[in-house]
């Protein structure tokens, strides 16, 4: 909402500074977002007086003017306007001035005569449509004074962000009420007297029929006849311009002016184009079409509310009038509508048609039904004055649902306890009165009746807010609360804490956290072969690359990879903790959210400097991270087995823990990686943190006495075929049931060049809990193990 300061002063005598006003409005909840100087672009122009006009020696249609601009010497200005004459006060653009349209004025030769500037038309100054001649200023401004001052143009306009609960502040008068309440100033309603033409009787000529009382609780209209369509007076046009409204003509401008002044949207029909003697308010026929003022044909549905004459719809109620009854230069009789429409209905229509107007904006938030007759009369009076026209006697109206005022009980003690204040009853009474409420009652209890322009005041707590707002929330006391806890702690949510510990773990291992969007493009999922089943589509995405939620974390983190490769960062060790989304009818919302950990390694294993070797990361770097994760959070080693036909990983290894599938790790298929600009191997893992958290939360360390007896270590060299997986050897050893075997580790693998086999060196650690082991016992166990291995597996020993 744009508020002109001089317009405000029509209703309340605020004499303070614009900055202080902006601050105080902001502090009562009317945030001033900006102080606009709407005519700043005219600040270089000056008022001048034409001292003499002569014909241009070289051109019939040009005049040569001598213009006084208050300097020691008059200027010579060539002017092409037919209406220029000596004695006129005019708008002068001097050498170097930029006009609103961007044209820079300079001293130029025009047909052999030097012109020291330009005398401007209204259109050139964007102050009106008239380009037929120069603009002649009224009054006698001092030559050389600033044009904007000479015209009385508004210097300060406040751009106020009005919250949706305050439709009353979408008008100058409504804001004046707030200003009066804040500064304790009087509030003066517009004063006017409306002369009616008794020769015509509006209600006798016109009947109002409302088919849908919920959609239209009040419809009223006045008839103004004999108008001449022309520009509205300067002051009205300048005020409209100052709040960003383009002046059109005296009738349309008046409806806009009153809407800004009092907050009530009005509409003017060309009465001669309305057929019959009835105005009807009724829903649209589904599928019908209607052409609005902007000459767009709109397709309607049964929810749209229309204004009809006897034959046809003539306006899309509260949103926009129809082209078929628009005020034109030929109009003389005007039917002026001032109605109340249901906010929900207007909102639905405006949204569906993408047709948001100043009018629909106000109806959506709620207009002042009790104030509607005043707004209608105000506009009728302005039309009678500036139409100029005759206002027919009476108002044609129907009000199937009159406004019912809401009375609210207000307990001062409760207000004080909620706001931590100690205000007395008189103070409360004064605030409510100044805001337009009727107040009754005494002691602790007031009965407050909210005015019809404050639909937001329906409950006691709404009144508490008014007290806090006007008193100043910023002035209320402050202290830290005593946060009470239930003795019996209810269910504890450990999810956040667990995710945090995962992040700390990853950071400690030198991984860097990234955060990617939860959405990606269908084409990304397709590219990665991710199944179509289970995808969660965004119904109204911003763009195609954000039209589906991540079923796997990979698209986002590959995007990060691409960004970084583009930035020249090729050594990446990344992690992300985020949710995957999958359709699941069993979930509360129909979408299963699963918190997962993504790991991505790309480029050299180590920092690129001595004494590190230059090697690229490989599978075992990735697996090591996964193993470390399980060791840290699960205390159990995971199982890692080959997995075929994974959509985007090859090779792909499935990681499971106990009986739970945790996820996959492997290399992103090279052709897919290349789509993200990666030429080197991209190692990626995606693991289920919800599952890991479940396992983790069951683990409680149980103390075991420290061993008293020493260990004995023995190495064993095993020769195995290349394809024999290490896990099989471990399985045989682990299942041998050797009680003194404390640990087995693989210390070396050797691949002889000349044979298709591998040589593994296993290191066995033995310990007895109750005594020192003898060499020969250990030798025997080693021997048995070797025999077991040869029985079960195709292995041999050197």
């Amino acid at each position: 909402m744009l508020l002109s300061l001089s317009w405000l002063r029509d209703f309340t005598p605020y004499e303070g500074s614009v900055d202080d006003l902006a601050h105080r409005l902001t502090m009562v909840g009317l945030e001033v977002e900006e102080i606009v100087r709407p005519f700043d672009h005219l600040s270089d122009l000056v008022a001048g007086r034409v001292v003499e006009r002569k014909a241009h020696p070289g051109a019939d249609k040009l005049s040569l003017c001598t213009v006084d601009i208050g300097g020691s010497e008059n200027l010579d200005i060539v002017c092409g306007a037919p209406n220029v004459a000596a004695g006129q006060y005019v708008a002068v653009a001097l050498d170097g001035t930029t006009l609103p349209g961007g044209q820079v004025i300079g001293n130029t030769q025009i047909r052999g005569v030097l012109s020291q500037g330009m005398i401007c038309s209204e259109a050139e100054l964007e102050l009106g449509p008239d380009s037929s001649g120069i603009m002649v200023l009224s009054g006698t401004p001092a030559p050389g004074s600033r044009l904007d001052h000479a015209l009385g143009l508004e210097r300060n306009v406040l751009d106020i962000g009005v919250t949706p609960n305050r439709p009353d502040c979408l008008s100058v008068f409504g804001l004046a009420r707030e200003v009066a309440a804040i500064f304790n100033l009087p509030l003066n309603k517009p004063v006017f007297s409306l002369q009616e033409d008794t020769s015509r009787d509006c209600p006798a000529e016109l009947e109002i029929v409302i088919d849908d009382p919920d959609g239209c609780p009040l419809y009223q209209a006045r008839l103004i006849s004999g108008c001449t369509i022309k520009p509205s007076p300067d002051w009205m046009r300048y005020r409209l311009l100052s709040v960003g409204v383009r002046p059109i003509n005296n009738i349309v401008d008046t409806t806009n002016y009153v809407m800004f002044e009092l907050g009530h949207p009005l509409h003017a029909f060309d009465y001669s184009l309305l057929k019959g003697s009835r105005i009807r308010v009724a829903r649209a026929t589904p599928g019908s079409r209607f052409t609005t003022l902007d000459n767009e044909e709109r397709k309607l549905n049964e929810g749209d509310l229309l204004i009809w004459d006897d034959q046809k719809p003539v306006a899309l109620a509260g949103v926009m009038g129809g082209a078929n009854t628009e005020i034109s230069e030929h109009s003389t009789d005007v039917l002026l509508e001032c109605a109340v429409f249901d906010s929900l209905s207007i909102r639905r229509t405006a949204r569906r048609l993408g047709l948001h107007s100043e009018s629909s904006f106000r109806f959506e938030r709620g207009v002042d039904q009790a104030g509607a007759p005043f707004a209608l009369n105000r506009a009728a009076q302005l039309m009678s004055e500036y139409g100029p026209g005759q206002v027919a006697k009476g108002v044609a109206f129907s009000e199937p649902k009159p406004h019912v005022p809401v009375s609210i009980n207000f307990r001062r003690s409760r207000a004080n306890s909620l706001l931590a204040l100690d205000v007395d009853l008189d103070y409360c009474r004064q605030i409510f009165s100044s805001l337009g409420c009727e107040v009754d009652g005494e002691d602790d209890l007031l009965r407050v009746t909210a005015p019809s322009f404050r639909p937001d005041l329906t409950r006691e707590v709404d009144l508490f807010e008014e007290i806090g707002r006007i008193y100043g929330l910023d002035r209320t006391p402050e202290h830290l609360p005593k946060v009470q806890k239930s003795l019996h702690q209810e269910e504890v949510d450990r999810k956040h804490a667990f995710e945090d510990s995962i992040k700390q773990w990853a950071r400690g291992l030198g991984l860097q956290e990234v955060i990617n969007y939860s959405f990606t493009g269908m084409s990304d999922l397709d590219l990665l072969n991710i199944p179509a089943q289970g995808r969660v589509r965004v119904f109204n995405p911003l763009s195609e690359d954000q039209d589906v939620l991540r079923l796997h974390l990979i698209p986002g983190i590959l995007q990060t990879l691409r960004n970084n490769l583009g930035q020249g960062n090729s050594r990446l060790r990344l992690f992300e903790v985020a949710r995957s989304f999958e359709q699941d009818s069993g979930s509360e919302t129909g979408v299963r959210e699963n918190t997962r950990l993504a790991l991505l390694l790309h480029g050299p294993r180590h920092r690129g400097h001595w004494p590190f070797a230059e090697e690229d990361t490989d599978f075992y770097d990735l697996k090591g991270l996964a193993e470390h994760l399980l060791e840290r959070f699960a205390k159990f080693p995971g199982k890692f087995v080959m997995f075929d036909n994974h959509p985007y990983l090859e090779p792909c290894v499935m990681c499971s823990l106990l009986d739970y599938k945790l996820g996959f790790l492997g290399r992103v298929r090279p052709q897919m990686a290349r789509a993200y600009k990666a030429r080197k191997e991209v190692w990626f893992a995606d693991l289920d943190l919800d599952q890991l958290q479940n396992i983790h939360s069951d683990i409680l360390p149980v103390f075991q006495s420290l061993p008293k007896y020493p260990v004995v270590k023995r190495d064993m060299n095993v020769i195995a075929p290349l394809e024999l997986k290490y896990a099989l050897i471990r399985e045989v050893v682990d299942q041998a049931g050797i009680s003194i075997l404390e640990d087995v580790s693989l210390v070396d693998i050797y691949y002889p060049q000349d044979k298709p086999e591998k040589k593994l060196t296993l290191r066995f650690t033995y310990r007895h809990q109750e005594r020192t082991l003898q060499d020969h016992e250990v030798d025997q166990v080693q021997q048995e193990l070797a025999e077991l291995l040869t029985q079960k597996l195709p292995v041999g020993f050197p």
Binding site: V28, L418, P481, N516, V538, N540, V591, P611
Partner: protein, 350 residues
């Protein structure tokens, strides 16, 4: 000195004396002198041993054995010290040894600045007694809007452009649904914060379609505006600076009444609107204030949704944008950087 006891005692003190000598030795020459003095033909050990033949024959083997053990011990101490000195010499003398060469530095991990700020904020509020709660990012219209006093068609729904999954399912536009979800499960007193991702259909220089919020709320008997103001002032001063000024401006949210927006004095220009060099401050647009969060006293309608008695209980709630706080705290000037994850950006938060 003729008894075996005397000899044993001399041998023992000889070991101590040698150990002291070794500790003091700082060169191979010191060692050679010590060797001659203790282990040489005319050294201290030889002198003690020369008394052994004079002992009774029954005592001689024991004394001899002890003397040999002492000799072995002294030799070992001497060798150890010699090794130590040689290793030291090797570092000093080897021209290749260069302590200015880089070491094997383990990789520097990093936490995303958004996570960092969430951690900071969570620790402030857990310190004040708030629990951390989590909930779904795909949310029902009921939890995201209706239960928060935002019925269908409410103009305040326009305050947030929503990304829909279906007609009744949205990507949550704020973390406020966690108020409802938590209150449904618990009975007052309840004090919790809910950090997480939120989504809006908005993308430009100052908006990303996904960002992070932290919701906080406290419900109990007798909770007042003063509790809210105190909590948020304490928060702002702890997360930014103890000197930061906090301003409460009335505003409107359907789920709080009264509602307020909280501004802090601009951390870039220290609330002056202009920098020291008189350049106008772009962060606060010369106002000296920047908005950091929205808050208010929980609306009675919300309590009715979860079955709390609004006559008995009052409470406050607030919601703050994490990226906004991170930008102010770290001086980040481009919102989009958060989700581009450029290493040169991430490395700054290691």
């Amino acid at each position: 000195m003729n008894s075996v006891l005397e000899i044993n005692s001399s041998l023992k003190s000889l070991v101590h004396e040698f150990e002291t000598r070794m500790d003091q030795a700082s060169s191979l020459r010191d060692l050679e002198e010590a060797r001659v003095a203790f282990l040489g033909r005319k050294g201290k050990l030889a002198k003690i041993m020369s008394a052994i033949p004079g002992l009774d024959s029954s005592e001689r083997p024991l004394a001899g054995k002890t003397a040999n053990q002492v000799k072995t011990e002294l030799t070992r101490l001497l060798e150890d010290k010699k090794n130590e000195l040689e290793r030291l010499a090797a570092f000093r003398l080897d021209p290749r040894f260069d302590p200015s060469l880089p070491g094997r530095i383990p990789d520097m991990g990093s936490i995303h600045p958004v996570t960092r700020v969430i951690q900071d904020i969570c620790s402030i509020f857990t310190g004040l007694g708030f629990d951390i709660v989590t909930g779904p990012e795909v949310e029902t219209d009921f939890y995201n809007f209706e239960a928060l006093n935002l019925p269908p068609g409410h103009p305040a729904r326009d305050m947030q452009d929503t990304l829909y999954i279906t007609e009744s399912l949205v990507l949550r536009t704020h973390t406020s649904p966690m108020q409802i979800r938590t209150m449904e499960k618990r009975t007052p007193p309840v004090a919790a914060i809910a950090p997480g991702k939120v989504y809006r259909r908005d993308s430009d220089l100052t908006h990303t379609p996904m960002f992070h919020q932290i919701e906080g709320f406290l419900v109990d008997e007798q909770v007042s505006m003063a509790d809210l103001r105190g909590t948020l002032t304490a928060f702002a001063q702890r997360i930014f600076d103890p000197g930061v000024k906090v301003r409460f401006r009335p505003s409107f949210f359907p789920f709080t009444e009264p509602s307020a927006e909280v501004d802090i004095s601009c951390v870039m220009c220290e609330g002056r609107g202009r920098h020291r060099d008189d350049i106008s401050c772009r962060v606060c647009k010369e106002t000296g204030w920047v908005e950091v969060l929205g808050c208010g006293m929980i609306d009675p309608e919300v309590f009715l949704q979860v079955g709390y008695d609004p006559e008995k209980y009052t409470g406050f709630a607030f919601g703050l944008g994490v990226e906004r706080v991170a930008m102010l705290k770290y001086g980040i000037n481009d919102l989009r950087m958060f989700f581009e994850n450029d290493l040169k950006f991430l490395n700054q938060f290691a």
